[in-house]
Amino acid sequence: MATETNSAEAASAPGMPQLDFSTWGNQIFWLVIALIAIYFVLSRMALPRIAAILAERQGTITSDLAAAEDLKVKAQEAEAAYDKALVDARAEAHRIVGEAKAEIQSDLDAAIAKADAEIAAKAAESEKAIAEIRAGALDAVKEVAADTAKEIVSAMGGKADAKAISSAVGARLKG
């Protein structure tokens, strides 16, 4: 009877249903059941699972970061190796260029020397030929001069001594 009057009062009057103590036992009973249900679901299943997920994610992130660090070190090493290879290659190229230059220079020197020698030989030969020609020409001049002198002397009516004329021409040519 008491509950009926209470609920009738609550239905019509603007009082607070919260202060209707006849429903407290009911609410508390269901609340305790709900809390126990939530507690078991959370503590036995949900929370350990979420903790495991978070831990796993943390582990994954950590290992991924470590892997990234490794890869970065590797990349740096590769870069250093590449730079070193580049420097080596450059040095090698310099060396090869130097060698080639030296070889070419020596070849060139040899060729120049040979050419110089040849030129010198040719020049000597030519000089020799020129000297011969000159000597020949001198002889011819002497002969012509002597002949001419003899002719001139005979033409002037003199008797030309061949030996005297040639010595006289020689003396004049020298002088």
């Binding site: 509950t3 009926e4 609920s7 609550a10 239905a11 019509s12 009057a13 603007p14 009082g15 607070m16 249903p17 919260q18 202060l19 209707d20 006849s22 429903t23 407290w24 036992g25 009911n26 609410q27 508390i28 009973f29 269901w30 609340l31 305790v32 059941i33 709900a34 809390l35 249900a37 939530i38 507690y39 679901v41 959370l42 503590s43 299943m45 949900a46 929370l47 699972r49 979420i50 903790a51 495991a52 997920i53 978070l54 796993e56 994610r57 994954t60």
Partner: protein, 251 residues
């Protein structure tokens, strides 16, 4: 009947508290302690919401979380960090209890915002049980962990000696007022918001006022969404603070 007739005369019928009436789900009989009522139904919905969010949401265990899983993780991280920050490392072992309180309150509050829903947390019966559970747990735990040393909570050793007895009385009163404020804060906030929405809805009967009423209800609803979360948060953080007192009673 008298109030109804009066209300119809004025064109306004206010029953802002009717939404809090507890009714049996089946039939019209008296409410005994085991009767399935609307309160029991919505507490059950809160339990289902917790299961869906925390259990089904995290069932895939994916490294890159889905939306529901990230909500579950967010809730977990939020409360876990709160417990750890306030109570320290020893507090972590009470994390499931605090998480239970928070998830129940937050789910019940938000489900109560569905129109025509019933909000279990608007009833003092519910919040008083929650607050008393925290109060009793903290008190018993404080004495179990620290023995008589727990009483140093009331003896403010940093104050001048002459002031200490007075402060002890004040601290003692404030300690026993805790469960009262703890429970009334939650139920009062939730109940007030729902009742205000109902009052605004009552004004909608007048044609001229009804647009204003709709706007006001919308604004109140937005506020209630905030209140639903904030009150759950406040209840949880106060629980953590009280738990900290039990674990480290020295000021």
């Amino acid at each position: 009947m008298a109030t109804e007739a009066k209300g119809e005369e004025a064109g306004l019928v206010f029953h802002p508290m009717d939404q809090f009436i507890i009714k049996p789900l089946f039939g019209d009989g008296a409410i005994t302690w085991y009767t399935p009522t609307n309160a029991a139904l919505w507490m059950g919905f809160a339990v289902i919401a917790v299961i869906v969010l925390m259990l089904l949401g995290s069932s895939k265990r994916s490294i890159i979380p889905s939306r529901s899983q990230s909500v579950a993780e967010l809730a977990y991280g939020f409360i876990y960090k709160m417990v750890e920050d306030i109570c320290g490392k020893e507090g972590v072992k009470y994390f499931p209890y605090i998480m239970t309180l928070f998830m129940f309150i937050v789910c019940a509050n938000f489900l109560g915002l569905i129109p025509t829903a019933f909000t279990p947390t608007s009833h003092f019966a519910v919040t008083v049980v929650l607050a008393m559970a925290v109060f009793l747990t903290v008190t018993i735990l404080g004495f179990v962990k620290n023995g008589a040393g727990f009483l140093s909570l009331f003896w403010v050793s940093s104050a001048p000696l002459a002031l200490r007895p007075i402060l002890a009385i004040i601290e003692l009163i404030s300690y026993f007022v805790r469960p009262v404020s703890h429970s009334i804060r939650l139920a009062g906030n939730v109940m007030a918001g729902h009742a205000v929405i109902k009052v605004f809805a009552g004004f909608a009967v007048i044609t001229l006022v009804s647009p204003v009423s709709v706007v006001a209800i919308t604004a109140m609803y937005g506020l209630e969404v905030l209140v639903s979360f904030i009150q759950a948060y406040v209840f949880t953080i106060l629980t953590c603070v009280y738990l900290k007192d039990a674990l480290h009673p020295h000021h």
